[in-house]
Amino acid sequence: MKIGIIGLQGAVSEHLEAAKRAMQKLGIEGEAVWVGMPAELDGVDGIIIPGGESTTIGKLMQMTGLFERVKWLAKNGTPILGTCAGLIVLAKRGDEQIARTKQPLLGLMDISAIRNAFGRQRESFEAELEISTLGKEPFRGVFIRAPAASEVWGDAQVLAKFQGKIVAVQQGGLLAVAFHPELTPDTRLHEYFLRMCR
């Protein structure tokens, strides 16, 4: 298995490590690679769009041609996991803040994203989340200037909510979470994604 991590900006090395740990846990032979150019996505079984600044990641994706390549791969069935900024980039719609910055959105998931849904860094928080898809044990959600989804439609399924806000969504092979599973030792979310890529 080969997982490509969009490595333009943000918590890239953390996702590389988390993906490798999850592969080990599942006993999957494979590699996680740092992707900076479209050709580096050749032969990947899944793509991760990490957290960082979504305006920066979106602009660099467009500039490098990764934007069109990822869109094409997703439409042809390659699973994608987007965390934090990645949730925004995957969304079809953005709020006023997102529209104002004219940041490019892949528009792959039937969700409407709200930027900084919980506030600024002072309001960033950790809390236990109930995500039944991942089992009974709560999942430690690390929310850093996190976005959320205000609504979902079509085939998009809500996997978790926190304080009434949608923080995890799945739509077929696409998975978007508002928090940072790569910042905790718990690999269940990455394992879940890797199983989608199998």
Partner: protein
């Protein structure tokens, strides 16, 4: 349900989200929007850029909170602001304002010659400057979630930042040779908890995100320090002292991402707007160097 704010993981995690990015000094909302549009990951809100602070002399203090607030409201990316070294009063004001990160900066006039701010008492993360491993670990020991080189701010001259990167890396490499007693001795020498020294020795890098600051004026400057192993860059005077800030900002963002691709660097380096004139470090008197403040 328990909700945790201001944990070490949240503070250091915020810094991780900045990796691979460029953080730009801005003095008004218009500049902040230029920085955001160019792909900057955050802005540093200032009353004056370092080159002008250097020229003006006098006591340099925290910017007017109204100026910082206007910048915070103008953009969606994080906004940081500077407080004087040791000035916990200014830091409290900035936390109450809700800036995303505080830079306890030698660019401003130090407020305390003995102590830095006790950063562990704050919910928002701090970044501090350092010239060597000892300074970096002391700041981390005090609770800094991110460290940057001091370089020599406002000079447009990369030579001091390079010196600080090389020295810090050499000192980290030396830790690998040490056994328990040696690490204990280093911790005493650096006046920090041995845990941080051990962690650094094991990771063979600083345990927090490490940026370069102080002297970056061109895309090639940024590419060079990224190749040296820093996680990202601050550009102070280099952008808004150039003749076309928007272009310079974009060029530095691209060079920071594609630091190891000379072809991209060549493209973004062509026909650049006029860069800041800059200062030869050798012409600065010892007391004019900002980097010696707060060690």
């Amino acid at each position: 349900m328990e909700i945790v704010f201001g944990s070490e993981r949240l503070k250091r995690g915020f810094a991780k989200m900045q990796k691979g990015g460029v953080i730009m000094d801005v003095t008004n909302p218009e500049q902040a929007i230029i920085a955001e549009e160019a792909g900057s990951v955050a802005v540093m809100a200032l009353q004056a850029i370092p080159a002008d602070i250097r020229a003006a002399g006098g006591v340099a203090r925290m910017a007017d909170p109204a100026v910082i607030e206007a910048i915070m409201n103008a953009v969606t990316i994080p906004a940081m602001a500077k407080c004087r070294i040791g000035h916990f009063g200014e830091a409290q004001v900035l936390e109450a304002l809700g800036v995303d990160m505080i830079d306890e900066s030698e660019v401003l006039t130090p407020a305390d010659e003995e102590f830095h701010v006790d950063k562990s008492k704050f919910k928002i993360p701090f970044i501090c400057g350092s010239r060597d491993l000892g300074e970096a670990l002391r700041r981390i020991n005090e609770g800094a979630a991110m460290v940057r080189t001091k370089g020599e701010a406002g000079t447009g001259n990369i030579v001091e930042a390079m010196k600080h990167i090389r020295l810090t890396k050499r000192q980290i490499a030396e830790l690998a040779e040490l056994k328990h007693d040696g690490l204990e001795a280093k911790a005493q020498e650096y006046r920090v908890s041995v845990e941080f020294v051990k962690e650094t020795a094991k990771l063979q890098r600083l345990p927090v995100v490490w940026f370069c600051a102080g002297g970056i004026a061109t895309p090639a400057d940024s590419a060079m320090v990224m190749q040296m192993g820093v996680d990202g860059v601050f550009v102070g005077s280099g952008i808004f002292k150039s003749s076309d800030p928007a272009r310079m900002a974009r060029a530095i963002v691209e060079a920071t991402r594609y630091y190891d691709d000379p072809q991209v660097l060549l493209e973004v380096s062509k026909d650049l707007p006029q860069t800041m004139r800059g200062i030869d470090i050798k012409t600065l008197k010892a007391e004019e160097k900002l980097q010696a403040r707060g060690v």
